[in-house]
Symmetry: C2
């Protein structure tokens, strides 16, 4: 049985192609590379019905992933995350068909595990023994853990302000951690210098072509979980944008495979914070790429990315699906994070909360209508950001003391 139908890498800008077997980072033209598959052949060999009963991880789609030999797969059980129905909250914002895909339920508690699982598996297949990457925290944590499993040395550079728990994940798994007094863009420069000096694999976002393949499995899962009839709107918190690009790539592949019930793709929405909204600005101006966002700031740290290498791919995905880009306020992020916990029992991360806030705004402006099926992506667990929950005075009892009326 063929484990993967991957055939080559291609450049979405200059159309140059590269082999899937050697190490390639960016195209010689400077653009990220994308993995291509022989989907015509796959279509004749693999049916969507055959998926039922496969393992409940992202590897159920192994034919459409770039790892050629099964024995190179490095897995911790990631993927096939649940989709919950947000009935109560949805009704209160006039969106009765509101759903949430919970990417907190993967190793390391963030969707970054998908990119790390596929990225590290492919790195192992390519013989990589040492890599470096900049991160806003969660990606570095995930890559450090999977690298440990694969026996690869990982150099991780993150801003001093990145969530503290992600430092601990890197440290305990033996990753080489460096902090930087700056943003992820500054970390990126340090990594660029390091990989050049050390001839080391560059695992920066989109500088290796495989992370996106892991993230695209969210799109395959959404299709399968919605029984191959996609929702009307999908909202995604957008920093580097790879999640959104990946989901769009998945849908295009599924169209080619003929697995979708109809040809209409969901309108894709890139959600950003008002404190860092370069994609929103570019989309509103009708530009095909974004401009570096000065002095960016947001508590949704994962989307504090002032300029994304794949910005043109995000803007294309939005445009081609009649989607949009929208920024939400820090106050709304906090409000909706609390609402989801109190009404739906899910402690989601600030980035995930931003998508709920965005859905509310888009419903208010009637960009989304009442009867549409709407899917928000929660990209990680709230417990990775304990500092986002305000402390309050908690009654403290001595042994034998009773709970007083005024406490509850």
């Amino acid at each position: 049985m063929t484990h993967s139908y991957a055939t080559h890498l291609s450049c979405p800008k200059c159309k140059n192609t590269y082999s899937i077997e050697g190490i390639h980072q960016l195209c010689s033209c400077g653009s990220p590379l994308l993995v291509r598959y022989d989907l015509a052949k796959a279509k004749s060999k693999v049916s969507k019905e055959s998926l039922s009963g496969r393992e409940s991880t992202l590897w159920r789609y192994h034919e459409f992933l770039p790892v050629l030999q099964k024995e190179n797969v490095v897995s911790l059980g990631e993927g096939f995350t649940p989709i919950t129905s947000l009935n109560r909250l949805g009704s209160s914002i006039s969106l009765p068909s509101l759903f949430l895909k919970d990417e907190g339920l993967v190793p390391s508690g963030s969707f970054k595990a998908r990119g790390a699982a596929v990225g590290i598996s492919k790195a192992k297949e390519l013989g990589v023994t040492e890599l470096a990457m900049p991160t806003n925290g969660n990606a570095g944590a995930a890559w450090s853990l999977y690298a440990a499993k694969a026996g690869i040395t990982a150099h991780i550079v993150m801003p001093v302000e990145a969530p503290e728990i992600t430092r601990k994940e890197v440290l305990i798994s033996g990753g080489r951690l460096y902090l930087i007094n700056g943003l992820i863009s500054d970390a990126g420069k340090t990594v660029a210098a390091f990989v050049q000096e050390h001839d080391c694999y560059d695992a920066s976002t989109l500088k290796e072509p495989y992370r996106i393949e892991g993230k695209k499995t969210m799109g395959y899962e959404i299709a399968e979980q919605f029984n191959w009839s996609l929702p009307d709107v999908i909202l995604y918190p957008t920093g580097g944008g790879v999640g959104l690009i990946g989901i769009y790539k998945a849908f295009r592949e599924l169209l080619e495979l003929g697995w979708l019930e109809n040809d209409k793709l969901p309108r894709l929405v890139a959600v950003q914070s008002e404190g860092c909204a370069p994609i929103v600005k570019a989309h509103e101006a009708g530009e095909s790429s974004s401009v570096f966002w000065e002095n960016s700031q947001t508590k949704a740290f994962g989307i504090n990315v002032p300029k994304a290498l794949g910005d043109f791919l995000v803007l294309e995905a939005i445009a081609k699906t009649n989607g949009t880009a929208i920024a939400v306020s820090e106050a709304d992020i906090e409000i909706y994070q609390r609402k989801v916990a109190q009404e739906e029992g899910q402690f989601i991360c600030p980035e995930g909360a931003a998508t709920i806030a965005a859905a509310t705004k888009l419903r208010e402006s009637n960009w989304i209508s009442h009867d549409e099926q709407v899917l928000c992506l929660n990209t990680g667990m709230g417990i990775k950001y304990p500092e986002t929950v305000l402390s309050k005075t908690i009654p403290t009892l001595e042994k034998g003391e009773r709970i007083k009326e005024e406490y509850h």
Copy 2:
């Protein structure tokens, strides 16, 4: 289609029975109650082959859960967690067939979500609107979240020393949180007084009969994931003991259903810390119940339970399966937590690490032999206990600064 084959509650001590429809807490004799099913009828209606293709949550076993009406199910996508193979670590401790079931990959990041999902669903079915419970942190967090989803008010009492993140989970989901200067046993006394005064549902461990049913699904999953041929040894971190009792109950039900490939059950091992080992002490003395452990202390906070209500059931499960109980040192917990992260890429909790330390000891003493299949349970994510990872000096760079050789 019958949603559940549950028929009644029965007392494992005095054999008294109760209806599954009203609210019942302990038996009049003081013992916990257990849920019973018409397994003979279920056997003729449900086949294990029919499970394939069902949703990948614990609700795939709904016929063997106590929720009678499907509409009462409160689910956040919990269960059907992955089992990973610990190849590298296993080889290094002469256990080539060492596996880990990762209970971190559920809502709230701990196996307590299983008990909360089934417990809250049944509480909803019974019309409960307010509940109270003592907790070492993780159970309270999970119950508070699921209670929020169900619209039930939850009063949660936890020791001041319980992991701080679990406080945040209770607060953000709107639970009523109280801290106590003492242990979970002290919290239990406060809850007992509160439920009596307020005529409120007591959700304390084993004082309601349904939490264990959620936890037993670990046993169903282990059987299905091992293709109905169970491993030789299962190690479980044991505080209140409900996880272990639940797994044993599951295996007995599966035997009755005729779903297992052979009648030999795994040897069950209760793992405790040297700082709190009442079950170990009772098992070694051949007793059928335990004695309160004075001045208990361990960094594996979830198993800091000086006297468990279900101790006699744990001891019975161990005895009937030719299992054992073993205590591990605090130093070993730390060592094996780090080893699992550095060699297997999984950041597990201290309680989970205790089971790996115990497997190592039992292999050294030859209680486990080289060729046996051994399954350890990791009951939660390491990120819920960030304080267990030692901080060290991390190199901090200024913008534009390069990574120096001496840093890596």
